[in-house]
């Protein structure tokens, strides 16, 4: 147990050094970096604008007003933005399987998931996270007086982002792990990742029962979006529901890790 903790500590240190190195090397191209961030935010803004336009026209959907939905999509954007930065290698995991680059991961003295994640950290993809936070703050300023939102709620919002980030990271990891069986994951990603990302930017209450069930069980992304948002925005459920969100986040990461380990075992016994 102590050895495992020590190994995890060493792994995190290595990861920290990779992160710092990536940041430094990107910072060398300031203009490139800034422009890239700017265009990303512009792109995400277009998505959000389309969504809001629809809500405006409809008045409200599922009992959620314009600013409620602004908060919800900000939450989804911010939390899923985290995997785009820290899970960029998992997001592009195809190349490891198609070109056999995973061999190089297995010769390193660390857990394979950590080794893959530490291959690169895509700081330039931070645009989604930033924009998400901006949207949440905008919505907050409008909603806070009416709903009487305070510091505790703000902390809960931060926790909600963290839960969402862990859940999305688990989904990205699980999708990458499926690649050990299917080799290509770019066909799976729209179904398991991009689709749900867009879907949970809307209140879950508008969907048929089956869809709600999926997002609260096998693909539990609602616990990083709709569920905490509903609690924070006083839609009925108590704030204590965030405890459930944290538990689901932890459980989904453990499950994804299990699937990953299973996949690695398959890789090492069949090879490329």
């Amino acid at each position: 147990m102590r050895e495992a903790l020590k190994a995890a500590g060493d792994g995190c240190r290595t990861y920290g050094i990779v992160a710092a190195s990536s940041l430094r090397s990107r910072a060398a191209y300031t203009w490139n970096f800034t422009l890239s961030l700017f265009f990303q935010m512009l792109m995400y803004s277009a998505d959000v604008a389309a969504l809001l336009l629809m809500v405006r026209t409809a008045g409200a959907i599922g009992g959620w007003g314009t600013y409620d939905i602004l908060f919800l999509s900000g939450l989804v954007l911010a939390s899923s933005g985290v995997y785009r930065v820290f899970g960029s290698e998992l997001h592009n995991f195809d190349k490891y399987l198609v070109h056999g680059e995973f061999d190089g991961v297995l010769i390193r003295p660390a857990h394979t998931l950590l080794t893959v994640a530490a291959r690169s950290i895509d700081v330039e993809q931070g645009g989604a996270f930033l924009e998400g936070v901006v949207l949440m703050v905008l919505a907050w300023r409008h909603l806070a007086p009416d709903l009487g939102l305070g510091v505790v709620d703000a902390l809960c919002a931060a926790l909600a982002v963290a839960c969402g980030a862990v859940i999305w990271f688990a989904v990205v990891t699980a999708t990458a792990a499926l690649g050990f069986w299917t080799t290509r994951i770019d066909d799976l990603q729209p179904v398991l990742l991009y689709g749900p990302e867009t879907a949970v930017s809307y209140p879950l209450s508008i969907y048929p029962k089956a869809v709600r069930w999926i997002f609260q069980t096998i693909l539990p992304v609602a616990f990083g979006s709709y569920v905490p948002a509903a609690a924070i925005l006083r839609k009925g459920p108590p704030l204590s529901d965030l405890g459930w969100c944290a538990a689901v986040a932890a459980a989904s990461f453990v499950a994804a890790l299990g699937l990953w380990n299973l996949g690695v075992r398959r890789y090492t016994s069949t090879g490329s």
């Binding site: 190195s21 190089g104 010769i107 003295p109 090492t268």
Partner: protein, 326 residues
């Protein structure tokens, strides 16, 4: 104590396997990539694994480095099982794949080394000492601050080697390290590997298709074909077994009179020259075994067929030598 021991190593790949549901009408095919391979390697040896593509060399290396699990049989490296003790073994071995980079593509070379130092938990004193030595021997200074993606293949290879040696591994595995390098880069790399093996005592396992690599580096050669070992010994012993297949090409002023060839020098009895006349009618391709019939002798015999205006030697190729085993 042997540093690497392989006992009846076997690896079967199953192709055409289906993930879900019933299997396709044609049953999955089992391909035996490695079968019944046993060998022992002592510390400090420099061993070349040779064989044609698909012979099982890479699969064997992958089983020794913990990348693949053997279907059956046993392998230990430095007393550890590469599969059960993958992480611990990784701290004691270095691996370089000639065709793939292990460095951080977007970061300066120097940063890659810093990351590796943290990953392998290299104590600062050791790191400084090894870094100094590697920088000098491999001439890393000139491109230490360049991003890896901007390095030439030769520079990158030197970086890869340094990266694989930073933690002072006891065994170094090299999968075709000289592939694609120019003559000078190859020579520098060999020089480095020789001194690493001689002075530091690192055990080196190498796969290559380059005859010069084998001649200049490998004290011991393991030839693998179709998954099994067909030869284990020194280069001299290999030549004893299969000779040294060579070829030369001679151009005659007039189309040569081949009928006069066999009488030349009264050596009708030596059957070891195979002669073919090329399409132009004036150029002759002769294959022979250099051990039993030296090149000057071949030339002399060819001269009986007419006046030679030009000729060139073709170096024995590893593939040709290895082919003698099939």
């Amino acid at each position: 104590m042997a540093i690497i021991e392989a006992e009846r190593l076997r690896k079967v790949f199953t192709r055409g396997q289906r993930l879900f549901g019933r299997k396709r009408s044609d049953a999955p095919v089992n391909v035996e990539a490695v079968r019944d391979l046993s060998f022992r390697i002592e510390p400090g040896e420099f061993v070349g694994f040779l064989g044609p593509n698909g012979a099982g060399k890479s699969t064997t290396i992958k089983m020794m480095t913990g990348i693949l699990h053997p279907t059956s049989g046993r392998v230990t490296v430095d007393g550890l099982s590469p599969q059960a003790d993958r992480v611990r073994l990784a701290l004691r071995i270095g691996v370089v794949f000639g065709q793939r980079t292990q460095l951080w593509w977007d970061l300066p070379l120097r940063e890659s080394f810093r990351i590796l130092r943290a990953m392998y938990r290299v104590p600062p004193v050791d790191f400084r000492r090894r870094m100094e030595m590697l920088t000098e021997l491999l001439g890393l200074d000139a491109f230490m601050d360049m991003p890896v993606r901007q390095l030439s293949l030769g520079q990158r290879m030197r970086g890869e080697l340094a990266g694989a040696l930073l933690h002072g591994p006891r065994v170094l595995f090299l999968d075709e390290p000289t592939i694609g390098l120019d003559v000078t880069a190859k020579a520098a790399l060999r020089q480095f590997l020789r001194s690493l093996n001689a002075e530091v005592g690192t055990t080196v396992i190498l796969t290559t298709h380059d005859m010069t690599d084998v001649e200049e580096l490998c004290q011991r050669i393991l030839v693998i074909n179709q998954g099994t070992q067909v030869f284990d010994g020194s280069l001299a012993e290999l030549h004893e077994r299969v000779g040294m297949p060579s070829a030369l090409r001679a151009t005659f002023r007039e189309p040569p009179d081949m009928s006069r060839l066999s009488d030349a020098g009264g050596r009708r009895s030596s059957p070891d020259i195979r002669v073919t006349v090329l399409e132009d009618g004036r150029t002759v391709h002769a294959e022979f075994n250099r051990l039993t019939c030296p090149a000057p002798q071949v030339l002399e015999r060819l001269r009986a067929a007419g006046e030679i205006v030009d000729f060139s030697m073709q170096e024995p190729r590893l593939e040709t030598i290895i082919q003698q085993f099939y």
